[in-house]
Amino acid sequence: MKRKIGVAMLVALTALTSLASGALAQCTTGMLIKWDENAFSYETNYNSSTFISSAGSQLNVVGKVSVFCQMLTGLDASDPTKEYTFLFTGLTSAGTVGPTAIAGGSTRWTTNYGSGQFFIYEDSSPDAPNPAAMPANPPNGTVPANYTDGTVILSGNIVNFSTTITRFSTGTYATSFRGDFAFTGGTMFALVGPEFGLLTGAWCANDDAAPGVLGLCDLSNGYSSHPNGKFDQPATPAQTSTWGAIKQLYR
């Protein structure tokens, strides 16, 4: 047993010492895992013309990691021989609340989702689709399959996931998402441990409701949004939460 722990620590140390200096330069306070261009969401019952996610709709998010930071800097997301992809799944919509009129002329749509899971994969045969030409109407032959091949290096739970879409009085839009995550498994779990943190970022909703308008994204049919975001973990994790929420993260 001791030998196994020793080997695991050696693997972890080796990963840490093979730091990619570029990754460090791209990292910033709090950031653990970041994704940018290649990430998309889709749901089983979502109307992209009204931003309404029906209660019970299942949300999935697929994407490709741009950069790893902190204890994961040994992983090089820019290595052309590999790709690091992820899937958020099992997130059940409580139904979109909105459109809600806001003082000043803005309009808001908010959607809360029940708890779900995430999986991060290392794939030595990069095959994630070109984000500029995502295959329509997922799930299909490529999505999520080409994001979920390879080895699960990290996995865990997601709670308190919610999205907000706002239309300003000027007619432009802005968007966001936020949730909490906890690591529970994966081949590289030893590097991160059972820590929890924030999932945050922009939730650029499909622009079917207002094609070409600032703040929304032009997406292939069947996708509800293009999120740009990150797994965040403070250097000294100390997040305010409830016991209920913490217990839920590890169930």
Partner: protein
Amino acid sequence: MKRKLVLLLCALFIASAVPAKAADLFLLGFAGYDYEDPDANDPDADGSTYLEVGDGYRAVGVITSFGATLLPYVDQGTNEYTFHIYDLAVIQHDWDAPNQFVSVLFANNGRIRYYEDSIGGGTAHNYGTNPPNGTAPSTFTDGAIILGGDVDNFALFYDYLGAQGGFSGQMTLDEGTLLTYISPAQRGGWLIGGLAGRPNESVPEGYDNQISGEARIPDATPTRTKSWGAVKSLYR
């Protein structure tokens, strides 16, 4: 005939009333933190004093990845790439107390700049606390300006119940050492960002929110994928 002309003019007017964008390409992604400067009231007990009329919005951070347009001209192994958003003055502030929601509009002619600074010979970015301070924005604005642009139609919201917000704005690139690699037709781009405020242990003291976002530019050969229903709805 006259009626058709009037309808056509009306349609053109409506179309031009809202800032629009063409089919687009990912230019770069970023992450960082934002703060108010100037700021009439600090700290903000709630959204009633957050980004009041006359306050300024600023953000600093790092570029986390580049899209295909700029990737051949950058080296993230030897350089640090940072950004600074500034000169955004609030002209409209609406606080909705029952919904705990603030929406803010800004005057045109804000600015965003992206910088390249050698990891070996430069100064690493440092947020410090209570910006502006001795290291922020200065350690984010040292090095060469690789791109910069004017920011118009910038708008921001923050939902205090959900502890999240977002922004968007139009960006017209007009300076920098890499500007030459972006065709004139592609220099009118846009910014999107998501915000995560407190409770959030990562946010340095004196900053307001974490930012995660990206800049996009128009596709050189724009094509848009839409369902027939969406296309038909455009003409109804």
